[in-house]
Amino acid sequence: MTDPISAVPLDDSVEFSLRELCAACRVSEEIVVEIVAEGIVEPSGSDRAEWRFTGFALTRVQRALRLQHEFGVDLAGAALALDLLDELDRLRRAQRPSD
């Protein structure tokens, strides 16, 4: 048995540059630029070269791409679906009895 491989938490403790995010999600920079323009994720930094995405953003970009690919919706539709899913998630959590 080899040494364990470290898993990287996908939260706000990690950051990805535009290039790293594109590599992880296997998409071109143009697509990520569109995703940012749709407001699906909001990188820190003023221009593309300085953009930094959190681990949460990576998950969100992957979800948006899957929704786009597997439901045939455009990015605006994927953005809407993600917002509604987040809202649903929030409501489910709030509804859960806190005994």
Partner: protein, 305 residues
């Protein structure tokens, strides 16, 4: 290998039109897509539906599949000896059933090896206790892989992998294990493995994000007099000063005693005042003395209305 009835999986007849199939797929995808669905076996169902759609949407694959004739789902099945399917360069998604791989899997006949591509990303879930989330832990995972033998046939294998889970993971959190997805083709890099963390329920603690909640039983006199009591936290016991005159449901915050992170979570202690039943005549006498001395009526407001 078990026969799969792709029409039954999609819930359409054998004479379904391309539009019927697309419509059925969209509806099932909305129901079972792991990003959308809360169904228990969503991921498995979505893969099954995706595989069925991959065959039925493609006129050539569908015709080849139809030519096999109808069998019962789950029936043992071997493709005809002269089976040949020219599927072109690429087959779409990552994981397929053995049935699909045998019939349409490009990998099995070595045709994919001629070009270089990165392996697919894979995903899974891991269950972690709160103690493990607090300290970080290691998990041995068994991953289903497809190996290619010397004759270019695809063989399912199981690979063991040790993964270190960092401290401070929260429920629903995704973690990425680099290069542990499916292997690449033609010398291409491997995909990544994405794991979703599920925190297991704990006997006393409840996690909300990085904050940890604890219901703490205290006696009426501990709450009334104010006392320093020992409280369990994930990091060990700490002293907590219960303020004098505390009432039940009062929340006390132990800053930074929740799950680690930047910033770390807090532990929130909810006081639950419990009156022990008297266990002896002496205890009962003490309660009677309290009743006579402390003449408070907590229901006064209700009675005067």
């Amino acid at each position: 290998m078990e026969y799969k009835d792709y029409y039954q999986i999609m819930g359409v007849g054998r004479d379904a039109s391309a539009d019927d199939i697309k419509r059925a797929y969209r509806k099932l995808a909305r129901k079972y897509h792991p990003d959308v669905s809360k169904e228990k076996d969503a991921e498995a169902r979505f893969k099954e539906v995706g595989e069925a759609y991959e065959v039925l949407r493609d006129p050539e694959k569908r015709a080849a599949y139809d030519a096999l004739g109808t069998r019962k789902p789950g029936e043992q099945f071997r493709p005809p000896p002269d089976w040949q399917f020219d599927y072109g360069a690429e087959t779409d998604t990552g994981t397929h059933s053995d049935f699909f791989e045998e019939l349409f899997g490009g990998l099995g006949r070595g045709r994919r090896a001629s070009f270089r591509s990165r392996g697919f990303d894979t995903s899974g879930q891991i269950e972690v206790t709160l103690e493990e989330a607090f300290r970080g832990t290691e998990r041995r995972l068994s991953l289903q892989r497809v190996a290619v033998d010397e004759r270019g046939r695809a063989l399912p294998t199981t690979q063991q992998l040790n993964v270190r889970i960092p401290a401070g993971v929260v429920d629903g959190q995704r973690i990425r294990v680099p290069s542990q997805g499916e292997p690449g083709m033609g010398g291409g890099p491997a995909g990544d493995l994405f794991l979703e963390v599920r925190l297991l329920p704990h006997r006393w603690f409840r996690a909300e994000g990085r904050d940890i909640w604890l219901d703490l039983p205290v006696t009426p006199w501990e709450a009334a007099l104010g006392e320093t009591i020992r409280v369990p936290t994930l990091g060990g016991r700490v002293d907590l000063k219960v303020p004098k005159g505390s009432q039940t449901d009062r929340q006390l915050r132990l800053r930074g005693r929740g799950l680690p992170g930047n910033p770390p979570g807090d532990q929130l202690v909810v006081l639950k005042i419990m009156a022990p039943a008297p266990q002896s005549p002496a205890e009962e006498a003490l309660y009677k003395q309290m009743a006579e001395t402390l003449r408070t009526n907590l229901r006064q407001a209700m009675e005067s209305s």
